[in-house]
C-alpha cells in the first residue's frame, strides 16, 4: 500500500480532471455540430426526415447513457473498427449530446413566430437565408441559457465513461481508492472537483436565464 497524502490525492485527481474537461468539451462541441445539422434537416421539413430525427432523439433520451457507450464500445469492433475507450466515449457522448441539444434547439426554433418565416419568404429568401438571417439569430438568444445548462449534464455524463475504462476523474478516483483504501476522502474530493466544474456553469446558465427572460416570447 502506497502512502498518499491529501495533497497527492488532490493532485492526481486534478491531473485526471483534465481528461474530464477535454472529453466534455469535445463531446459538447461535436455534439453541438451534429445537433445543429439535425436541427437543420429537421426544420427543412421532409416528413420522413422529421420522423427519423424524432426517433433518434427518442432513442437517446429513452435509453441509459451507459448502454449507448457499451453499444459503441462493443459494436464498432464488430464492423472492423478497433476503438479505444477515448474514441468510444467521445463518439457515444457526442451522439448523446447531439440528441438532447437538437431537441432543446427545436423548441427554440419553434418558438419563433410563423410570421417571421412568412415575412422572410415574402422577401424571396430561401431556406438557408431564412435560417441564417432571420430565425437562428432570434432562436439563439432563447437557446443560450438551456444550452449552457445542458453542458452540466455533459460534464456529469463523462463520469459514465469511466465504466468503459476511460481514465478520467471518476476512474482516477476508483484507482486511487484501490491504492489508498480511503474511499471517503477520495470520492469526497472527486465530488468537490465535479462541483467546481459544474457549479459555475449552473450559475452562468441561471444568470443568462435572468438576462434573457424578457426576450423569450
Amino acid at each position: 500500500m502506497s502512502e498518499f497524502s491529501l495533497w497527492d490525492i488532490a493532485y492526481n485527481l486534478l491531473l485526471a480532471a483534465r481528461w474530464t474537461v477535454l472529453l466534455s468539451l469535445t463531446a459538447f462541441v461535436l455534439g453541438g455540430l451534429v445537433g445543429l445539422l439535425l436541427l437543420m434537416v429537421r426544420t427543412a421539413g421532409n416528413p420522413w426526415v422529421i420522423r427519423l430525427v424524432r426517433g433518434y432523439v427518442e432513442l437517446f433520451q429513452g435509453t441509459p447513457l451507459l448502454m449507448q457507450l457499451f453499444i459503441v464500445f462493443f459494436g464498432l469492433p464488430l464492423i472492423g473498427l478497433d476503438v479505444s475507450p477515448w474514441v468510444a466515449a467521445t463518439l457515444g457522448l457526442t451522439l448523446f449530446t447531439s440528441a438532447f441539444l437538437t431537441e432543446i434547439w427545436r423548441g427554440c426554433v419553434e418558438s419563433i413566430g410563423k410570421g417571421q418565416w412568412e415575412a422572410s419568404a415574402s422577401l424571396g429568401m430561401n431556406f438557408t437565408q431564412q435560417m441564417r438571417y432571420i430565425v437562428l439569430p432570434q432562436a439563439l438568444r432563447i437557446a443560450v441559457p438551456p444550452t449552457v445548462g445542458f453542458s452540466v449534464q455533459v460534464v456529469k455524463g463523462t463520469a459514465v465513461a469511466s465504466i468503459i475504462g476511460f481514465v478520467e476523474l471518476t476512474k482516477a478516483g476508483t484507482m486511487i481508492t484501490n491504492a489508498t483504501y480511503e474511499p471517503f476522502t477520495v470520492y469526497g474530493c472527486v465530488a468537490v472537483m465535479y462541483f467546481l466544474i459544474c457549479y459555475p456553469l449552473s450559475l452562468f446558465a441561471r444568470h443568462l436565464e435572468g438576462k434573457f427572460r424578457h426576450v423569450a416570447r
Partner: protein, 223 residues
Amino acid sequence: MAYKFDFGAIVPHWQLLFDGVILTTELTVIGAVVGVGLGIMGAWARASRAPVISQIVGVYVELIRNTPFLVQLFFIFFGLPALGVKLTEFQAAVLAMIVNLGAYSTEIIRAGILAIPQGQIEAAQSLAMNRVQIFRYVVILPALKKIWPALSSQIVIVMLGSSVCSQIAAEELTFGANYIQALNFRAFEVYFVVTGLYLVMSILLRMGLKVLGNFLFERRRHV
C-alpha cells in the same frame, strides 16, 4: 472475416434479464416515491423561506445537481462505511436514487409552488386554515399538477441512470447484462437487447406516470 450475430445466445439466460428488470423496477418505484416525497418536503422548506433550513436544502440541491450520480453512488457505497454506515448494494443504490431525485424534484416542485397565485393562499388564510392545511389542500396538488410532465421526465432519467448501479454490483438490469456477456462473450448482442428493454421500460414508465397524473389531478375535480 465477418462477425456472425447470435442473439439466440441470450435466450438461455433470460431469467437473469427478467430478474434485472424486476430489480430495476423496484429501485425505480422506491426511489421515485420516496424521492418525490423528499422533494415535496424540500420544496416546502425552500418556498417557505424558513431561515436556516431553507439554506441547508439549497446547498443540498446544488451539491447533488452539480455532481454525477455515479460519484454519489460510490460515495454512499464505498465512502459511508468509513463513518460506520454500512449499506448493502441494494440499499446504497436506492439511497443514491432517493437523494438524487430528491434534489431535482425539490427544484421542480418549488417552481410549481411558486406558480400558485398568491390570492389562493390569501383566500385560504381568510378561511382560517393553518399553514399545514393550506399546503395540503391549496398548494401542493395544483403545484404538482403544473410540473407533472417535468417531474415525470426526471423520474425516467433516474430510472435510466440506475443502470450505473451495476458498478456497485446491485443486481439490476445492466448487472444482468454484464453477467451474461461474461458467460457467453456476446457483449454487443446482450447490450443491444438490454438497450431495447430499457427503451420499452422508459416508454411504459412515461405512460404509467401519465395515467397516474390523470388519476391524481383530474378526478379531484368531482370530489
